[in-house]
Amino acid sequence: MAKLLAVTIIVIAIASAVPIVMHTWVAPVDISTHGPLIDQQMSETMAEAGISFLAAQLILAIFIWKFSGRSKDAKIERFPGGSMGLVLAAFLLVGTEVLALGAFGTKAWAKVYFTAPAADSMPIQVQAGQFAFYFRYPGPDGKFGPLHPDKIDEANQNFFGLDPANDPDSKDDIVTAEMAIPVNKEIHLLMHSKDLGHSFYVRELRVQQDFVPGLDLSLHFTANKIGKYEIVCTQLCGLGHYNMRAYLEVMSQSDFDSWLKQQAANQ
């Protein structure tokens, strides 16, 4: 039975690794300028974790195979290297491995979070609320008007609570239900929650960030491939959470200009 267990462990370990090696289920192709760093970090971690996983399962299986069912008189053998060798291996091999991962991973994280957006980045505000995203472009004046929670009125399409009658900056703000951005242009995304915790997740963009009610956050990214991608909520926000999504359309600059013009006309 021990030998069967050893074989089973090895079969499970190899079978578990096959979909990884074959890339059966992988993240969609990256469309961001910062994404390659994240993907590279993912690959390196996969290699190190994969080797650790296979090695541990294999050695476990071999020892189970070899040292089970021995006779009562068999002599207990000493593990070569003893416990000190194993503890040192854990500290040196795993310690080095994880510190290296941590250090290199910091680079990818820093690229997203520790750099300021470029001065000419395009600001777009996204508001999350049960169970929809809305987007706001500042219009020709380049300024967002202030938000007034008490003026939110979804029935009259005032999703953000704008007061254009009294706030001049709000007059030319453009509010949309879909997000469009020009390709190869840095976007400065200003994140605001209307009600509860939500999240902004675009798999292809390698971006995921929670909305924090009461605390507006921002992040910046550049998309470098034209196409249409899903924006989904990943922070449980209620019964319609599974259906809370919008679309991100990455366009050429000229297409974007026309689109924005059209949206302005629709306000």
């Binding site: 039975m1 267990l5 089973t8 499970i12 578990s16 990884i20 993240a27 969609p28 970090q41 971690t45 974790a49 650790s52 541990a56 399962q57 476990l60 189970i64 089970s68 069912g69 006779s71 207990i76 000493r78 593990f79 003893g82 416990s83 000190m84 503890v87 854990a90 500290f91 795993v94 994880v98 510190l99 941590g102 991973g105 994280w109 520790f114 049960q130 008490d150 609570g161 209307k194 009600d195 509860l196 915790g197 999240s199 997740y201 798999r203 390698r206 995921q208 929670d210 924090v212 009610p213 009461g214 605390l215 989904v232 990943t234 922070q235 449980l236 209620g238 019964l239 959470h241 599974y242």
Partner: protein, 594 residues
């Protein structure tokens, strides 16, 4: 250190009558069995809830016959609504984490065996001990009552993130009364665990018998002691967090609710609260909770493996110090649950490095286990199979921690099924394997009957393969970007992944059904199993020196005297291949190999 020869007076008189013997018992052994039974009931409920969820995820438009009886509104004609899915999910997680993974390996086995393993007649505060169980049972009843009140249980998940969990029913079904009941139940649960932890800690520090120095304690006793120390701090933070959450509901406070929120077209009157505060308080408890669930399992696996390898661990000290390191580091890593929460991104790095470092003590434990198998005389039985399965599962679940410890990768994997696969394997299944291993190992002592080994092995094989079939694909789904906590997969991106979900659902239904073998074996053996000898596994610790089952006062009114370390196996020149801790035999003590 206290005078170990001067024990406290006997803790309670022999119990008389059914009520004092089996219901309001002061006997730690009865209380341990009560906790274990509660965990069995809870795990059955939690598993059935997961079946409903899995069926719904795989066949979203299929009616589940009979589900409408449980909730006519949540499942009209058996068809699950999105909100009912989330409610079942919340209850599944809460029941499993609190009333199974905390209750069975720690409170169940710990209550039964900790006093015996230290050589005591009982715990120092038997009334507190009894209270801790009844408080825990009350918490369970309060939680379950959420199914039957108002608009059902809460839907905010077992983590109950604010402000969804704090603003009341305006945010969704179950977020009013159901959520308050949830917070009340968890608060009550915390009180029970605090009482239990105090008892465990004082048992180890003050109740050890003569000769039982700290370093002679079996590793299980250490594991329960360390878990108690974690629990004392962790539950002490969750309790006030739950009280604050209840106050936000019933007293109009704004601890977790910020200003200017417009929920369901209504501007809330709250102001000044912090939504991230709940996450900090919850995860300050939540991550140590992982170790509350798994450290007792590590202890049980070590104890069972040593007995079945017929040799001591290469270094029991390395395992012990690693468990302490895990306990200590568990408080410094909790922020890895919050990398993309909006917490300061510099904090993410501060939490990332300890998270990566915590793999070192985990690796030490695994390597010592595997290295100790080398050159051993491994016996295969249901208990050792589950212990070996624990190692395999702990490794599989552990390596995915490499990914989630890194903020940059967490951008992709956070809130996906990768996380679900990770924690189910490393703290769910692995901990359950520890519980199974402990059950097959200690059942003879607890009941006086042997369990059926053949059925135990069948149970192991089907569970081992089944759990891998369920939880390994979760990782693949997560890598493909499958978001968790969705009640259905309707968008274009997720639809192609539904076949994987169907495979998982079938595996989950089969593996769940296999547990009936275990339940049958447990009940049948309790009444019809062959009579158990005092020490069927030839183990050295004190629980095996007494009759099976032990008398009410454990050692018959005498204090045992301990002469040896806990794991003296393979002793050259000794009459057998092991020496009991209370044996008078003179031996050369086997120490850790360098």
């Amino acid at each position: 250190m206290h005078d170990m020869s001067a024990h406290a007076a006997p803790h309670h008189a022999p119990p008389e009558g059914f009520i004092k013997n089996h219901v309001f018992s002061l006997d730690h052994k009865v209380i341990g069995k009560q906790y274990y039974t509660l965990a069995l009931v809870a795990v059955f409920i939690g598993m059935v809830l997961s079946w409903f969820m899995r069926i719904h995820l795989a066949w979203t438009n299929a009616a589940i016959p009979g589900l409408q009886l449980l909730s006519p509104a949540g499942a009209p004609n058996g068809l699950m609504t999105p909100e009912y899915y989330l409610e079942l999910m919340t209850m599944h997680g809460t029941i499993m984490v609190f009333f199974v993974l905390t209750t069975a390996p720690f409170a169940g086995f710990g209550n039964y065996f900790l006093p015996i393993q230290v050589g005591a007649e009982d715990m120092p505060f038997p009334h507190f001990n009894m209270m801790s169980f009844w408080i825990t049972l009350t918490a369970f009843c309060v939680l379950i009552s959420a199914f039957f009140v108002g608009d059902g249980p809460p839907l905010a998940g077992w983590t109950a993130y604010a402000p969804l969990s704090a603003v009341g029913s305006i945010a969704g079904p179950g977020e009013g009364t159901g959520q308050v009941l949830w917070a009340t139940a968890i608060g009550i649960f915390c009180i029970g665990q605090l009482l239990g932890s105090l008892n465990f800690i004082s048992t180890v520090l003050d109740m050890r018998t003569k000769g039982m120095t700290l370093m002679r304690l079996p590793i299980t006793a250490w594991a329960w002691f360390i878990t108690s120390c974690i629990g004392l701090t962790a539950f002490a933070v969750l309790l006030p967090a739950c009280i604050l959450l209840i106050l936000d509901h019933v007293a109009g406070t704004s601890f977790f609710i910020a200003s200017g929120l417009v929920v369901n077209d209504k501007l809330l009157p709250h102001s000044g609260g912090s939504t991230l505060l709940w996450q900090h308080l919850f995860w300050f408890f939540g991550h140590p909770e992982v170790y509350i669930a798994i450290v007792p399992g590590m202890g049980i696996v070590t104890h069972v493996l040593i007995t079945n390898m017929r040799r001591p661990m290469l270094s029991i000290k390395a395992i012990l110090y690693s468990m302490w390191a895990l306990a200590f580091l568990s408080y410094m890593v909790y922020g890895h649950h919050m990398f993309v929460s909006g917490m300061n991104p510099f904090s993410s790095l501060a939490f990332s490095f300890p998270t990566l470092l915590i793999t070192i003590p985990s690796t030490v434990v695994v390597l010592i286990w595997i290295g100790s198998l080398y050159g051993s005389k491994l016996r295969i039985n249901a208990a050792s199979l589950f212990a070996l399965g624990f190692i395999s599962m702990f490794v599989s679940g552990g390596v995915s921690g490499f990914f989630l410890a890194q903020p940059s990768i967490d951008i992709m994997l956070h809130a996906t099924y990768f996380v679900v696969g990770h924690f189910h394997m490393v703290m769910g299944v692995a901990a359950l394997f520890g519980i199974f291993s402990g059950t097959y190992f200690w059942f003879p002592k607890m009941t006086g009957h042997m369990m059926n080994e053949t059925w135990g092995k069948v149970h192991f094989w089907l569970t081992f393969i089944g759990t891998y079939a369920i939880f390994m694909p979760f990782h693949y789904l997560g890598m493909a970007g499958n978001v968790r906590r969705y009640s259905a997969f309707t968008d274009d991106y997720l639809v192609p992944l539904i076949p994987v979900h169907k495979f998982i659902t079938i595996a989950a239904l089969c593996t769940g059904a296999v547990q009936l073998i275990f339940i049958f074996n447990l009940i049948y053996s309790r009444f019809k199993g062959p009579k158990a000898p005092d020490n069927p596994w030839e183990c050295t610790s004190l629980e095996w020196t007494m009759p099976s089952p032990p008398p009410w006062n454990n050692f018959g009114g005498k204090d045992p005297i301990v002469y040896h370390d806990a794991y003296q196996y393979g002793i050259e020149g000794s009459s057998g291949d092991y020496v009991m801790q209370d044996s008078h035999e003179q031996i050369q003590t086997v120490r850790d190999e360098k």
